[in-house]
C-alpha cells in the first residue's frame, strides 16, 4: 500500500506541475491575478505530494519491504538504521526522487516567501520551475520508478554498496543537490525576465540570495564529497578530476561567476545581459552534471546506446531546457536595455575580470570532461584526460585570478584607482614576499613552485584582511573606533573577506599536501615500526571483529614522536558478506591541520599485512578553505540588504502590484 500511495502521490504531483506550468503563464498574459496566484498554491501542494512520495520511499526502506525492487536491490535487514535511510538516495531511482523533492522545495520556498515579488514575475518563475519539474517527474515515472514491486518477494535484500555505507552519504548528495537544484531558481528568474522582457537592479537583488544559498550548499557539498573520497577510498587522494567531480565543479565555477556579476547588476545596473546568460549557464551545467552521472554515458557510450531510455530521456530534457533557454536568450536579450557605464579599471572591471577567468576556467574543465566522450563517439578512439591536463590548463588560469582577487574590493565603483589599491596592498604584498623567502630558505632551494604558490595564497588572505583594515581604519584610528566601525560594516563585506580568505586557505592546503606529502608503503608484521615524517608507527597486532553486517580486521598502531607515545590508530579492512566485497576504513590522526593516514592492503600468508601510511601536512586546510567560503556566504546571506523580504520592487512594476 505504501509503495502504491507513494507512486500515486508522484503522479498527482506531476498533474499539479502541469497546471502550474500553464495557468500562471496565461494569467500573466491576460493580467488575471487569480490565475497568476494559482502558481503559489500549486507549488506548495506539489511540494506536499512529492514530500509524501519521498516519505513513502523512506518508510519502505526503513521497514525493509523487499517486495519493492528498489529496497531489495539496495537494502538489507541487518543494515544500521541510518544507512537504511541514506540508502534511499544511494541509488539511481531514489536519488532522482530526492532531486525532484529539492526542486519542489525551492519552488515552495519561492511561493511561500516571494510575497514581495511582482505578481507576474512570481507567476513566471514558478511556471518555469514547473516546466523543469514536470520533465523530471515524467523521467522518474517513465524510466526510473522507485516504487516497482517484485512478483515473488525475496526474504532478504542485496545490501547497499559497502563504500556508500558511511555518514558521507547522509550529507554529501543532499548538499550537492541543494546546490545543483538551487541554481534552478536563478534559471527560472532569468527565463521569467526574458519572457517579461524586463529586467532591472531589483531583479538581481531577488535572485542573489537564492544563488548565494545554492552556492553555499554546492561549496559545502563539493568539499564534503572530496573529504569523503579522501578517507573512504583508502589512498589519500582528495580530488581526481573524475568526470563526476568535474560535473559538480562546473556549476560551481559558473555559480561563483554569477554571484559576482549579480553584484554589479544590483549596484550599478550593468552587465544585465551577461548575468542572465550566467544564470542560464549555471543551471544548464547542473543539468549536464545530472546527465553525465545519471545517463550511464560515462560508464560506456555503448551501454548508453543499448539501454537508451534513461540516457536519451535526460539528453532530451537537457536539449529542450538548454537549447530552449539559449534560444529565448538569443531572441529576447538584445531587447533588454543596456546598463551603466564603467571604466575598465573599476570595481565593475575587476568583477568582469573575475567572470572572464572563472568562465574560461569552467570552459577548460568542460572541454577536458567532454572531449573524450566526443572523440569516442566520433572516431572510436579512447583516451583519458586526467590530472595532467587540468594542471596545465585550469591552474594557470587560476593564478591571474588569485592575483586579482585582493584588488577587486579595494577599487571604487565606476572608476577605480589601481595605483591607490596597489599602495593599500603593500602590506599584503610584503607579507607574501616574506613568506616566499622564508619557505624558499626553509626548503633550501627545492622546487620554486610551492613557495611561490603559497606566497600567492598569503597575498590573497592578507589582501582580504587589508581590505578589512582599510575599511575599519585599523592602526590609523584608536582601536575602539576601529572596533565600532567593524561592527558597523555590512555583513556582506565581512562575507567577502571570509570567502576570499577561504580561497587562499584552501590553496595553502592544496600546495602543502601535494608538495610535502610523505608516505610509507610496504608490508608490516606485528611489532614492526614504520617511520614517516618523523613519526614512528608501531604495529601492535591484528584483531578480528564482527560488525552489524560485516566482519572486520583491525590493525592496532601506536604512534609516537621522539619516543613519546602520542596516540593509537586502528585502520581496518571490512568484508561485507552479502555482496562479497570489502572496503578499507582508513585511520586518521589529526595533528593540528595535518593528518597521519593509515590504510590497509591485503594480509599475506606469513601474518604480515600491506599498509599505506601517509603524513599529509596541512591537509585539513583544503576543506577548511571551502568552509570559510561557505561561512562568508552565510554572512553575506544574513545581510539585511539581501534578506529575501528586503528588496523593494522597481517603479516600473508598481502598475502590476496594484492589481493585487
Amino acid at each position: 500500500m505504501i509503495a502504491e500511495s507513494g507512486h500515486y502521490a508522484l503522479v498527482l504531483a506531476l498533474g499539479l506541475t502541469l497546471i502550474q506550468s500553464t495557468l500562471p503563464v496565461l494569467g500573466a498574459r491576460w493580467r488575471d491575478p487569480t490565475l497568476m496566484n494559482v502558481a503559489r498554491s500549486t507549488a506548495l501542494a506539489q511540494l506536499l505530494f512529492v514530500a509524501f512520495s519521498f516519505a513513502a520511499l523512506v518508510t519502505l526502506h526503513v521497514t525493509s519491504d523487499f517486495s519493492v525492487v528498489n529496497v531489495f536491490e539496495n537494502s538489507h535487514s541487518l543494515k544500521p538504521l541510518i544507512y537504511k535511510v541514506t540508502g534511499v538516495w544511494g541509488n539511481h531511482e531514489g536519488s532522482m526522487l530526492l532531486w525532484v523533492l529539492i526542486l519542489a522545495l525551492f519552488g515552495g520556498l519561492v511561493a511561500a516567501f516571494g510575497n514581495n515579488l511582482p505578481l507576474s514575475l512570481r507567476a513566471h518563475v514558478l511556471a518555469v520551475q514547473a516546466w523543469i519539474a514536470s520533465a523530471f517527474y515524467l523521467f522518474i515515472l517513465i524510466t526510473s520508478n522507485p516504487f516497482l514491486r517484485i512478483a515473488n518477494p525475496p526474504i532478504e535484500g542485496r545490501d547497499l554498496n559497502p563504500v556508500l555505507q558511511d555518514i558521507g552519504l547522509a550529507v554529501h548528495p543532499p548538499m550537492l543537490y541543494l546546490g545543483y537544484v538551487g541554481f534552478s531558481i536563478s534559471f527560472s528568474f532569468a527565463v521569467a525576465a526574458l519572457l517579461e522582457g524586463r529586467i532591472d537592479a531589483a531583479w538581481a537583488r531577488w535572485v542573489r540570495p537564492w544563488t548565494l544559498m545554492a552556492w553555499i550548499f554546492l561549496t559545502l557539498g563539493i568539499a564534503m564529497g572530496s573529504y569523503w573520497a579522501y578517507y573512504e577510498l583508502g589512498w589519500g587522494g582528495w580530488w581526481f578530476w573524475d568526470p563526476v567531480e568535474n560535473a559538480s565543479l562546473m556549476p560551481w565555477l559558473a555559480g561563483t561567476a554569477l554571484l559576482h556579476s549579480a553584484v554589479v547588476m544590483e549596484k550599478r545596473n550593468a552587465l544585465k545581459v551577461w548575468t542572465i546568460l550566467l544564470s542560464i549557464l549555471a543551471f544548464s551545467l547542473s543539468l549536464l552534471g545530472t546527465f553525465l552521472v545519471r545517463s550511464g554515458v560515462l560508464t560506456s557510450v555503448h551501454a548508453f546506446a543499448t539501454d537508451p531510455t534513461r540516457g536519451v530521456f535526460i539528453l532530451l530534457i537537457l536539449c529542450i531546457f538548454i537549447g530552449g533557454s539559449l534560444t529565448l536568450y538569443a531572441w529576447r536579450a538584445p531587447a533588454l536595455k543596456q546598463g551603466g557605464l564603467f571604466a575598465p579599471i573599476s570595481r565593475e572591471g575587476a568583477l568582469v575580470l573575475n567572470n572572464l577567468f572563472l568562465t574560461t576556467a569552467c570552459t577548460t574543465v568542460f572541454i577536458g570532461t567532454l572531449y573524450p566522450l566526443a572523440l569516442e563517439v566520433l572516431t572510436g578512439d579512447k583516451i583519458s584526460v586526467g590530472a595532467p591536463f587540468f594542471n596545465l590548463t585550469f591552474a594557470p588560469l587560476f593564478v591571474p585570478l588569485m592575483v586579482a582577487v585582493p584588488f577587486g574590493p579595494l577599487l571604487a565603483w565606476k572608476r577605480g584607482d589601481l595605483l591607490g589599491a596597489a599602495q593599500r596592498l603593500t602590506a599584503a604584498g610584503v607579507a607574501s614576499l616574506i613568506a616566499v623567502a622564508v619557505l624558499w630558505a626553509w626548503t633550501r632551494g627545492g622546487s620554486a613552485f610551492a613557495p611561490l604558490a603559497i606566497g600567492l595564497a598569503i597575498f590573497v588572505i592578507a589582501g582580504a584582511l587589508s581590505d578589512l583594515a582599510e575599511r575599519t581604519g585599523l592602526f590609523r584610528v584608536p582601536s575602539a573606533t576601529a572596533m565600532r566601525r567593524a561592527r558597523g560594516l555590512p555583513r556582506s563585506t565581512w562575507g567577502t573577506v571570509f570567502a576570499h580568505a577561504g580561497v587562499g586557505v584552501a590553496l595553502i592546503g592544496i600546495v602543502c599536501e601535494t608538495t610535502w606529502n610523505s608516505e610509507y608503503i610496504g608490508t608490516m608484521k606485528p611489532d614492526d615500526i614504520a617511520k614517516v615524517a618523523g613519526y614512528e608507527l608501531k604495529l601492535d597486532g591484528l584483531t578480528q571483529r564482527q560488525g552489524p553486517n560485516f566482519r572486520e580486521m583491525l590493525a592496532q598502531f601506536t604512534v609516537s614522536l621522539d619516543g613519546k607515545r602520542l596516540s593509537a590508530m586502528a585502520p581496518s579492512k571490512r568484508n561485507f558478506t552479502t555482496r562479497g566485497s570489502s572496503t578499507t576504513e582508513a585511520a586518521l590522526l589529526t595533528l593540528g591541520a595535518s593528518q597521519l593516514y593509515i590504510s590497509l592492503g591485503d594480509a599475506t600468508a606469513d601474518g604480515a599485512i600491506a599498509v599505506r601510511i601517509y603524513h599529509k601536512p596541512l591537509v585539513l586546510l583544503i576543506w577548511f578553505g571551502p568552509i570559510l567560503m561557505a561561512f562568508g556566504g552565510v554572512l553575506s546571506l544574513s545581510d539585511r540588504r539581501l534578506r529575501v523580504g528586503a528588496p523593494k520592487p522597481a517603479k516600473a512594476m508598481r502598475g502590476l502590484q496594484a492589481a493585487e
Binding site: 525492487v69 515473488n152 575598465p344 578512439d381 583516451i383
Partner: protein, 181 residues
Amino acid sequence: MTRKQRRLTIIGGSLAVLAVAAALVLNAMRDSIVFFSTPAMVAEKHIQAGKRFRLGGLVQPGSLVRGDNLAVTFRVADGSATLPVSYKGILPDLFREGQGVVAEGVLDPSGVFRADTVLAKHDETYMPKDVADALKKQGHWKDDYGAKPDYNAGAQGASRAAQAPPQAEQGAAPARQGASQ
C-alpha cells in the same frame, strides 16, 4: 574613454584571455592525454617501449603472483592476447582475478607492462567502461554483464535473482577507486 573604446578594451581583454586558454588547452591536449589499449591492440599497433598508455582487460585467473615487498605480477587478457604486467604497491580493494582492470604505465623493452597506477574503476556492473567496450567489440561480451534483471518477467526470474544474483550485480562498486604510487 568613449563607450566604444571601453567596450573594445573589454572585448580585447576577453579575447586575449580566451586565446591564452585555447593555447593552454591545445598544449595540454598534445602532452597529457593517455590512450587506452587492450593486449590485442598492443600487439597490433606495436606500441613502442616507454610510451605511456592505459592497458585494460581482465585479470587472467591464476596469473597473480605476489613477490617481496608488495611487488606483484599478473597477466591482463582480452580473449585473444595477454600481456604481463608488473606493479609495486597495494592493489585496490576491487582488484580480483577474472575481473576487469585498467592499469596505467609503460611497456619496458622486454615486453612487460610496468604499471605505476592500477585502477579498479568500476561502475555497478563491475566492469571498467573501456574494458567492457573492448570486449564487446571482440565478441567476448556476455549480455548479462550490463543488463538489469527484470524482476517482473515472471516468478522464476525473481526467485533466481534472489538466490543467485546475476553477474551484473555482484559487488557493485564505487564510481572510482584506484591505487597509485
